[in-house]
């Protein structure tokens, strides 16, 4: 009985620890600050400057071909983008990839409606403090970083949608 109880206690403690770890992930130093401006070349050939999208809700999705969940995350974001693009949503996928060839191939395979940007020097990744992938940064209409997400699970698409709706309604 005591052994079962101890096991249960350990389980509860582990759940609490995982919850606290999630809270640590939400502790992103750039939240609340103005998003740093950048200009990057898109795989389609056009250049994109973040400051030109002031007034829109901007989603920056950092990805790499080596990341296993990046593809499903980009697909989920693409679904939200096709729904809310007319409401003022701008999405940019930013490659964090050493090999440009791999990045191009990944962008070709994971066809999305938004622009995929190439960050060969990884300057933008450093600006946004990208430390693990996938990573999504949400920027509001005033250019302020409002939220950041790591990882991607089956429940996250609904969560992203809810957050995007909240930002778009502001």
């Amino acid at each position: 009985m005591g052994r079962v109880y101890e096991c249960r206690r350990r389980l509860v403690a582990l759940v609490l620890l995982v919850a606290s770890a999630a809270a640590v992930a939400a502790d992103y130093p750039l939240i609340g600050s103005s998003a740093p401006d950048f200009a990057l070349r898109a795989f389609t050939g056009y250049n994109v400057r973040l400051s030109e999208h002031r007034g829109e809700v901007v989603v920056l999705a950092f990805w790499s071909s080596a990341c296993s969940t990046c593809g499903s995350e980009l697909a989920a974001i693409n679904r939200s983008y096709s729904t809310y693009r007319t409401a003022g949503l701008a999405v940019f996928g930013i490659s964090v990839e050493d090999s440009r060839r791999h990045a191009r191939e990944f962008a070709r395979v994971h066809r999305v409606g938004f622009q995929m940007l190439d960050d060969p020097a990884e300057e933008v990744s450093r600006l946004f403090d990208v430390d693990s992938l996938p990573m999504v940064v949400l920027i509001d209409r005033n250019g302020t970083i409002r939220d950041m997400h790591h990882d991607f699970g089956s429940q996250d698409e609904a969560r992203y949608r809810a957050e995007l709706r909240r930002l778009l309604d502001e």
Partner: protein, 241 residues
């Protein structure tokens, strides 16, 4: 998962595993940890040494009803019951609005003065060099980027978005670089990349040697169409001081 998160998880797990064997096996489900972090205002003395028991959780709940009545007590303070709320008159609102507008104008003026002061301090006129980009027509060249080198040192590298190219084609002039140079002879080299005639990748360079004397020096990178050759033309114009 973030490295710091993983590390926190490991530390937490190691503390948990290290602490458990040392602790006596619980005999009753009174020492469950979920309320461990909840600060209790009426914590039992035993909670200081042992993990907080669920008894501490109701204590915080018990404390909350004591604080709740204080909120409605303060809300109607200063207003007699039954008295009509004071509605500001239209004149008051207008005066307040004018005052706000005046303050806003003062802030804008102050911001402008500060910008001018900053420019004067950062780039004093005797060392200032400014480079501008302009475009005339541009049907033979789709501008993508400009790289600027002064005395073989890269000072600017600018990517142009379609919106910026449109603005340049409509007559806009962009200040691509402002910096300080000592008096004497200098060389400016500019590389233009983009799409040339027949949508082919195009990269061209232009250079100029100029003498910087006392006073601000202005240079202009001009992109023109040379109609008779059906090619773009890149020119650097020295506006001097």
């Amino acid at each position: 998962m973030k490295l710091s998160t993983f590390r926190a998880l490991l530390i937490g797990a190691s503390i948990l595993c290290g602490a458990l064997p040392a602790r006596a096996a619980p005999t009753a489900p009174a020492a469950a940890p979920p309320a461990a972090t909840a600060p209790s205002t009426e914590a039992a003395p035993s909670t200081a040494a042992a993990p907080p028991s669920p008894a501490a959780a109701p204590s915080s709940e018990a404390a909350s009803p004591a604080t709740v009545p204080s909120a409605p007590a303060t809300a109607p303070a200063g207003q007699a019951p039954g008295a009509a709320p004071q509605v500001p008159s239209a004149a008051d609102t207008r005066a307040l609005d004018e005052e706000a507008q005046s303050l806003k104008k003062d802030v804008v003026d102050l911001n402008r003065d500060l910008y001018v002061l900053e420019e004067e301090l950062l780039y004093p006129a005797n060392t200032q060099v400014a480079v501008f980009v302009s475009m005339d027509v541009g049907s033979f060249f789709g501008l993508d980027s400009v790289e600027l080198k002064i005395d073989r040192k890269e000072v600017a590298n600018y990517l142009y978005t379609p919106r910026e190219v449109d603005a340049l084609m409509k007559g806009g002039v962009q200040k691509i670089y402002i910096g300080n140079l000592k008096t004497g002879s200098h060389e400016l080299v500019a590389f233009f990349t983009g799409k040339g005639p027949n949508d082919r990748d195009y990269k061209r360079g232009a250079s100029i040697k100029f003498d910087k004397s006392i006073g601000a020096h202005y240079l202009e990178l001009k992109i023109n169409d040379r109609q008779h050759r059906l090619q773009p033309e890149f020119e650097i114009k020295d506006w001097g001081e």
